[in-house]
């Protein structure tokens, strides 16, 4: 599955001070898991406020922006619908910082309207780079876990008999692939 990089820049609402907007975003950590964790399709995501650009020296932007960025598996629209629906209250708080954004998580159709809002503010990415193209976030998390498990298994099972090693190996790794240990072990070793 291809990785999509999504980037939206949304002007802060009039009267919203960039400093307080930053505090709102930073405070999300204290409220539990990241709202982006609601989707298994998220690889990386960030929220930030940009209020200056350096033209020889720092220059304040007349219109500070909130950056909503996510690198995700598959198409962006279905991803946004998923996370904005699953973490509606948190994202409503974030979007409340932005001019003309839907910000009532309890209103009917919040996720579709918030998705449309973000898509309308998208800045199309010019040149993407992905170190492991084609690998999904779920696949990577699983691979990282299994690599660690295999390394540990190799150490802890050095002194075991071939039969014990086979049984434990298949219980640990074959189950995760949807193969029953019984089938893989054969009739003699099956519990």
């Amino acid at each position: 599955m291809a990785l999509s990089s999504f980037l939206a820049l949304c002007t802060l609402r009039a009267g919203v001070d960039p400093h307080s907007a930053r505090q709102t975003l930073s405070a999300l950590y204290a409220k539990g898991p990241s709202p982006f964790a609601a989707s298994d399709r998220t690889h990386f995501a960030r929220l930030q406020v940009i209020d200056e650009v350096r033209m020889h020296k720092p220059r304040a932007l007349d219109h500070p922006v909130l950056v909503f960025s996510a690198d995700v598996d598959g198409d962006v629209e279905s991803y946004l619908l998923e996370v904005l629906g699953a973490s509606a209250a948190t994202f409503a708080e974030v979007l409340h910082l932005c001019a003309d954004a839907p910000d009532d998580a309890t209103a009917p159709g919040f996720a579709p309207r918030a998705t449309a809002f973000l898509l309308a503010h998208e800045l199309t990415v010019g040149l993407p780079y992905v170190n492991s193209p084609g690998a999904t976030a779920v696949g990577i998390r699983r691979a990282v876990l299994r690599r660690r498990q295999l390394a540990e298994f190799a150490v802890t099972h050095q002194a075991k008999s071939p039969a014990e090693r086979r049984k434990d190996f298949l219980e640990l790794f074959a189950n995760a692939r949807g193969r029953t240990p019984e089938r893989a072990l054969g009739p003699k070793e099956a519990p």
Binding site: S69, P128, R165, F169
Partner: protein
């Protein structure tokens, strides 16, 4: 710290460009997208998970006065190390992109280049990394191991003896040892 999640670090750079440089980038980007050789050295260094470069002359419709690079990266380690590795791994490609930045100080001495990069960086207030506990190299290694582990499991057969299984198991370990 918001710019980090586990071993992953986020950086966002907004760098105004010298006049005319955007034209070159509009030629370069489509070529780089189509030619894997352009990014092969980065992949060999294996320190960036995901990054992207974008050209824009406005932020949400508001003109910036110049075309700028909007650059985001998710990488291993700290910003200074990141810049160092970039400089050493792909100096030519670095110049191809960044040399058009306003007040670009050249890659060497590194200290000036690092300072220039950091001056254009914006702090990230909320950062999420789904596998921030693993470095880019660990992710690449894990995918290599997982592919071979899958192949091994698919080849498991009930008719196989324990000793035959064990021989294959040892072959698997020998094959994946460099990634464990």
């Amino acid at each position: 710290m918001a710019n980090t999640a586990g071993k992953a670090t986020a950086t966002t750079l907004l760098i105004p460009l010298r006049r005319g440089w955007a034209v070159w980038c509009r030629v370069l980007f489509p070529i780089a997208r189509r030619l894997p050789a352009m990014t092969a050295p980065l992949r060999r260094q294996s320190f960036i998970h995901v990054a992207h470069w974008t050209l824009t002359d406005r932020l949400d419709g508001h003109p910036l006065g110049r075309t700028c690079f909007y650059f985001q990266s998710n990488f291993d380690g700290a910003m200074n190390e990141y810049v160092d590795v970039f400089e050493q791994a792909v100096p030519g490609r670095m110049r191809m992109i960044w040399a058009g930045g306003l007040d670009y100080p050249h890659l060497y001495p590194s200290e000036r280049y690092r300072k220039w990069s950091v001056e254009h960086a914006s702090h990230v207030q909320h950062y999420y990394a789904a596998y921030g506990h693993a470095t880019t190299t660990e992710v690449a290694a894990a995918l290599e191991v997982d592919e071979r582990l899958d192949r091994f499991v698919r080849a498991c057969d009930a008719a196989e003896t324990d000793d035959e299984f064990d021989r294959r198991y040892r072959e698997l370990l020998a094959e994946v040892a460099r990634w464990l």
